[in-house]
Amino acid sequence: MNFFLVFLPLRIRKKALERREETIIVDRACRQETLTYEMESHATGKRPDNTTDLIEEGELLLTLNIFYPVIFQKHKDHKPYQTVLVLGSQKLTELRDSISCVSDLQIGGEFSSQPDQAPEHISKDHYKSAFFYFEGIFYNDKRYPECRDLSRTIIEWSESHDRGYENLRSVKMEDYVFNDLSLKIGFPYLYCHQGDCEHIIIITDIRLIHHDDCLDRNLYPLLVKKHWLCTRKCFVCKMYTARWVTNRDSLAPGDPCFFCDVCFRMLHYDAEGNKLGEFLAYPYVDPGIFN
């Protein structure tokens, strides 16, 4: 054996580490990195309190990337998305209920005269229709009587124009579990809610459940990654996340202008709650609210 050989191995990897040492000035986990790791691993190895909730061997685990509908120029290369894990035996509606999107929380209307009324009307309660689209089939959420078949217009459109999508069908989302579907890994599918809020869904992995995974059925769909969206801060205190946006505001430095709830009320109303000055006020839900 060559005497030198003993010292040669691992030199390359070691050199790379040394180079890293030299170039890095502050070697400290940033907040985002810590959070990402936290999120990825927070449920690992968890077991349910109740044995009936224990996931059995042989269960399938799907990894889904659900993309946000926002298309900003800065997201040209990196489309923001969240990653969830779902079980093969879970209903599609369980996934639907777990997807958080600002458009579900959007509050319609102008509330400058009665700001206290605002938070009670959330879009999610108003417009409950939604569908998934997988492999030529629309899975419509029909759990509530007020749910509409959002896919009907699409199917009618495709049929009337002979678009080459002949076999589009629509079924009830609540009747299907993921094991029922035949899916392509890496193929872009769709989740649509609030009429036109469209999220691309990509299945990135399917595997058997493992002993070290979270085995508590109740914790699925399990969110393991999400994109941090930057939040809009209040223009006054520059501290809290904006809850209101105003237009044509005689008291504001710009149009539109964002305020947190406290600053908004202090500036725009007197002690008795009377409106001061001219402005239009809309409740604002920040995309970063789920951070």
């Binding site: 003993v6 191995p9 691992l10 890293r20 990195e33 790791y37 890994i185 399917i206 058997l208 070290d212």
Partner: protein
Amino acid sequence: MSAVPGLREDCEELLGAFLQADTVRFERFAELWRERRFHTIFYGKMRALQRKKLTEKTLDLAQQYFLPPYYFQIRVGALYLLYGLYNAQRCQPKQKIRIALKDWPEIQRFHLDLLDCQHYDAAYILRKLRLARAFHFTAMPKLLTYRSKKKIEEEHFKEEFRDPCNRVNNLITNDILEELMNIHNHYQKMKCVISADKSQPDKALSLIKDDFVVNLKDLALEHQEWHQNRLKLLQSVTETDEAEDRKKEEALLKSEGSERAGALARIKYRSYTAPVEVSKSRRHRQVQFESSEPGSSCGKSPSRSKKPSRGPQTPRRRGSSEVRGEMQLAKETVTQHIGMPIIIEEDSDGGELSPPKSRRRR
């Protein structure tokens, strides 16, 4: 998988050393591992997230060499490497080795091969990994990740570890010849039965050439001989620089890059000299292949010894689509045909000699 600097080189260096050691014993691998202090591969200041990523990539890298088309020996080495890496990793819980659905039958076959060749140490390690629940059984080999185009880089795996396949040998294997021989005998008997003279078939039934199998075998032998001569030639060309008159030859052969070709040649030569076991089920009707070529010594008949061998035995594949046909037809007397023309991929002349498309198993 974006490259972790130095990782691939280090893993390949270790596997290369194992290949050089010309063994599949775990003992030897462990020595090589320790000499290199390979467990330190996961050392260095790393935070949890980074550690997880690095481990993931390392296992992913080693796993690739565990599957075909690499040498049996490299695959065993990769198995030991996976075992070492899996246990040396510092993640909690441990990162798992991804095994795709399509690869699992191949691994089971590999396991049976290990048992057949009595490489019990390797079989034990594989079993150990399974019992430690070191595998994730996945639909696809890799977890999909999306990046912008510019960052995607091609991966280059070490060509030298690749099991070279000889198409002719792949098609005409011992199994095939045995099978053909059997079918032919059976056919002959059937013809006898329906013939007037029961000891010999009627002339009218003589529709194919009687010596078909022998001819096929001879052709295969010839091809193999030619192939080996060519390899030897390659080898000698790269190893000696004195031969001026070989320069031309070299230029011809150099197309693949002579260094690599030389390495391949050495490796190929070794794989042909590895003994082959005959599966038990077939032993009772094993056909002895002998060269019928006049003037040449006989081909070695396959080794029947069941003693555990210390050398890296290349097992016979069963049922796999890539049946490797080391036919063990190696000739002792190899003449150096320097002036021999280089013909790429011979075609069999007779139409009836075309090898069967599908293999029957019973």
